[in-house]
């Protein structure tokens, strides 16, 4: 196992925000379901005014097909729920807004690559654990841009920021900021492939037998790909920046990528050493049982740069290539295409307006409500608990009471987006 890999496994990107494709899909499902449930509750408890109720259509069995407004329901059913977005719908919208975010970052602000990408990844991550029905994407998009800047060390004046978007008040952004941070599980470091690309090109340049122009072209194309494709797809969740970079390089110039891999994974185990490493090396004879904890250097090397690992890496890069090729930079136009938006996006947006969370849609109100509640419940939290004579258990104000406890247990058992206890 290489030290570089071990170091990568320490990053929050790996620990908290890397999933297998099936896991990711499951998480999105869970988020979606949870949102539907909770929004349903809220809508049922606070039925919307009758005029809006008429526009709400009863849920159909296959909620995938966008249901045109029908006036079929003459009697506004107070128990009727709107048609909710499916996970697929959500993903579609998220992708759209991601593209918008990138566009704004480039056209309005001209941010450097790492800021744009960080902001976009923040946005995507946020909507893995939160539903787009719960929190408004247009606002969160701006929040993600703002917060992405900060996370990358560029601290902007919020008023200046909102002005560029043509908005007047900055409260929304500030209100959403903490929410975003929380939704990101407080991990703010996103690892990108851009510098890795530079490193790869420098390494290739040192081989001396590659044409400089070829390198430059490849770098340029690869960089273009990296600015768009991994962000629009789920590549960041399933592959490491190194692999993403290799995939992009491969798409730009397959030969170069293969050359680099060959050069890195060139170790051939000498015949006498049995490979007791975790992956059997086909070049070595039948592996002997791993005897001592201290493995022979040959085995270590096989595990790190041997041919078996090389094949596995090549496989991963191929898979990543496939993912990236679905959203090559040429697709930018697709996402901004007017007719596409009209047919695909607008209906979803309309659907969204009906099924959104009434309590949370307005970020400013939400934050205010939360703050007030905190003050009301427990006074200023800066005082010592002892001063206020609270028991040990009430850390931050009184507990919300029984229903919360009950809920906590139930949530843990059944509906758990993160898969139970760690």
């Amino acid at each position: 196992m290489a030290t570089e890999d071990a170091r990568y496994r320490e990053t929050s990107q790996y620990r908290l925000w890397s999933f297998s494709p099936s896991k990711l899909a499951a998480m999105r499902e869970t988020t979606n379901a949870a949102a539907r449930a909770s929004i349903s509750e809220r809508l049922l408890a606070n039925p919307p005014p009758p005029s809006a109720a008429a526009a709400i259509s009863a849920p159909t069995s296959s909620a995938n097909t966008p249901d045109p407004e029908n006036g079929g329901n003459s009697t506004p059913n107070p128990n009727a729920l709107p048609e909710f977005l499916t996970p697929a719908d959500e993903l579609h919208l998220v992708s759209f807004y991601t593209s918008e975010l990138l566009r704004a970052a480039t056209e309005v602000f001209n941010f450097p690559d790492h800021i744009k990408t960080t902001a976009a990844i923040f946005f995507k991550r946020f909507y893995v654990t939160n539903s787009i029905m719960t929190y408004p994407p247009t606002e969160m998009m701006i929040v993600a841009l703002f917060f992405g800047c900060k996370a990358e060390g560029m601290f902007m004046d919020v008023r200046e920021f909102v002005q560029r978007f043509g908005k007047k008040n900055n409260e929304e952004i500030l209100a959403g900021e903490f929410l975003l941070c929380q939704g990101l599980r407080f991990s703010l470091d996103v690892k990108h492939p851009f510098r890795a690309l530079r490193g790869a090109i420098m390494k290739l340049a040192s081989f001396d037998d590659i044409d400089r122009k070829r390198l430059d072209d490849a770098e340029q194309r690869a960089r273009e790909i990296l600015r768009f494709a991994p962000i629009m797809t789920d590549a960041y969740f399933h592959y490491t920046p190194s692999q993403i970079m290799m995939a992009a390089l491969s798409l730009a110039d397959r030969g170069l990528a293969e050359r680099l891999i060959q050069d890195t994974f060139h170790f051939v185990a000498p015949p006498e050493t049995g490979s007791g490493a975790d992956t059997p090396d086909p070049n070595a004879p039948v592996p002997a049982a791993p005897s001592a904890a201290k493995q022979k250097p040959g085995e270590d090397k096989a595990a790190i740069i041997g041919s078996h690992l090389r094949d596995k890496v090549l496989g991963a890069i191929e898979a990543c290539r496939d993912i990236l090729s679905k959203e090559l930079p040429e697709r930018r136009d697709h996402w901004t295409n007017k007719s596409f938006i009209k047919t695909q996006i607008s209906p979803l947006r309309k659907k969204l307006t009906k099924c959104r969370d009434p309590d949370r849609w307005n970020l400013v109100e939400l934050q205010r409500a939360r703050r007030e509640q905190a003050i009301k419940k427990g006074g200023s939290e800066d005082g010592d608990p002892e001063d206020r004579g609270l028991a040990d258990g009430a850390v931050f104000g009184e507990p919300l009471g029984q229903p919360l406890k009950k809920r906590k247990v139930e949530v843990k058992k059944e509906e758990d987006p993160f898969g139970g206890a760690l």
Binding site: A45, F146, K150, C181
Partner: protein
């Protein structure tokens, strides 16, 4: 560990590399009709009632409940620090740092908070303070749960000249820890930018830990300008005093050198009251930065030096003042205080220096001097360690008067 926003397992734990999602016990049916998948009851909504909790908010709540907040340890403009302990194991003490909403900073979350959060999450090393968890409080404030370091900081030890004594071996041990911390930061491409004895906290077992990453940032790519207004003045290197906007790890190394000097003479080496004075002190006590020792220095934006040019101090001069750490130690010090940042030793270079292998051997961390006097915190920590009902028996014999020896012939 339950649903925690952060996964921070201890070091030799094989499960650290397993996914937090590995054991997904629940499988939510992916039915696409509108029926909700569960029937958790909630607080019924009435108008004016607070919004209920999402799964991720619930996770946050769970995380928060893992820790019991105790008394306030300190209050600053930036944050309040509370002592706390793990609810499941009261012996595990933590410091809960609650970041205050800044009055002056109107642009949302403060930069310090963001930087601390970002870098403490990624850097894990025995000589860097550990971030155990993060959660948000009800009033939307950030709470960082850090490991509790009860024995104060290095500044306390240095300043308490009357009651705390330490020697060369102790200095070497502390410098080793500091050097390791800085090396790890740099190896992960992070500049700390605020190294000073005040930010070197001491753990219960004597280990020194680098804290306060509020000014940290990642190494910049070429062409990116950084602010020169970082690092506390007394520990700031000349390139920053001259306003350089492109710099590297050498700025931290200079601070390390200043801490080293302070450890030896037990008072700040160059305590300037203004930037200009700081430059003057550097000029006098280390050497005037001129073109021959530092090509290009005169072109830095705020380059200004006193008119009297002092040649760079040689080793003999340093030996006079700092000779207590031996010639190898002085060599180490000189290399960290090279005026030209390009010539300054690197973090790795520090750890590869000969000084670590000369006598005396660095003191073991358990044997390092501690701050004098029994502080409430210390005592409390000690108290918590002791088992109930057991009186410590170890040193009773010391109180018994020694038996006079009459066996000697006169």
């Amino acid at each position: 560990m339950a649903l925690s926003p952060l996964v921070m397992p201890s070091s030799a734990d094989p499960s650290r590399t397993a996914s937090p999602l590995k054991r997904q016990t629940s499988t939510v049916p992916s039915s696409s009709n509108g029926t909700p998948a569960f029937t958790a009851s909630r607080v019924t909504i009435q108008s004016g009632q607070p919004p209920t909790l999402d799964p991720i908010e619930q996770m946050n709540e769970d995380e928060k409940r893992k820790y019991v907040k105790g008394k306030k340890l300190g209050e600053g403009t930036y944050a309040n620090v509370y002592l706390g302990h793990s609810r499941s194991d009261p012996n595990v003490l933590v410091a809960i740092k609650k970041i205050k909403v800044q009055q002056q900073y109107n642009d949302g979350m403060a930069p310090d908070a963001i930087r601390e959060l970002k870098y403490l999450q990624e850097l894990r090393h025995p000589n860097i303070i550990s971030l155990l968890s993060v959660f948000s409080s009800k009033d939307q404030n950030l709470n960082l749960v850090l490991e509790y370091l009860p024995l104060g900081d290095l500044e306390m030890l240095i300043r308490d000249v009357d009651r705390v004594r330490y020697g060369t071996a102790d200095i070497k041990a502390w410098m080793g820890m500091l050097a390791r911390a800085v090396w790890w930061c740099h190896d992960n491409f992070v500049l700390h930018r605020d190294i000073k004895p005040n930010n070197l906290l001491i753990a219960a077992d004597g280990e020194v830990k680098l804290a306060d990453f509020g000014l940290a940032r990642g190494f910049a790519d070429p062409g990116y300008r950084m602010t020169a207004n970082v690092i506390t003045r007394w520990y700031r290197p000349p390139e920053l005093l001259f306003g350089a906007r492109h710099y590297g790890g050498a700025v931290d190394i200079w601070s390390v050198g200043m801490v080293f000097a302070e450890l030896i003479i037990r008072s700040p080496y160059l305590p300037g009251n203004t930037e200009v004075e700081q430059i003057a002190l550097i000029s006098k006590q280390i050497g005037t930065p001129t073109e021959d020792v530092w090509p290009g220095v005169t072109s830095l934006p705020q380059y200004t030096v006193p008119s009297e040019v002092t040649p760079v101090w040689g080793k003999e001069a340093y030996m006079q003042r700092f000779g207590a750490v031996g010639p190898e130690g002085v060599d180490f010090l000189i290399k960290t205080l090279a005026l030209n940042p390009k010539k300054r030793i690197t973090a790795r270079g520090m750890l590869e220096h000969r000084w670590w292998h000369t006598d005396p051997k660095p003191t073991r961390k358990e044997d390092l001097p501690r701050k004098a006097g029994s502080d409430g915190e210390e005592k409390m920590g000690a108290d918590l360690k002791r088992r109930n009902g057991v009186i410590e028996e170890e040193n009773r014999g010391g109180k018994v008067a020694r038996k006079l020896d009459f066996g000697q012939a006169r």
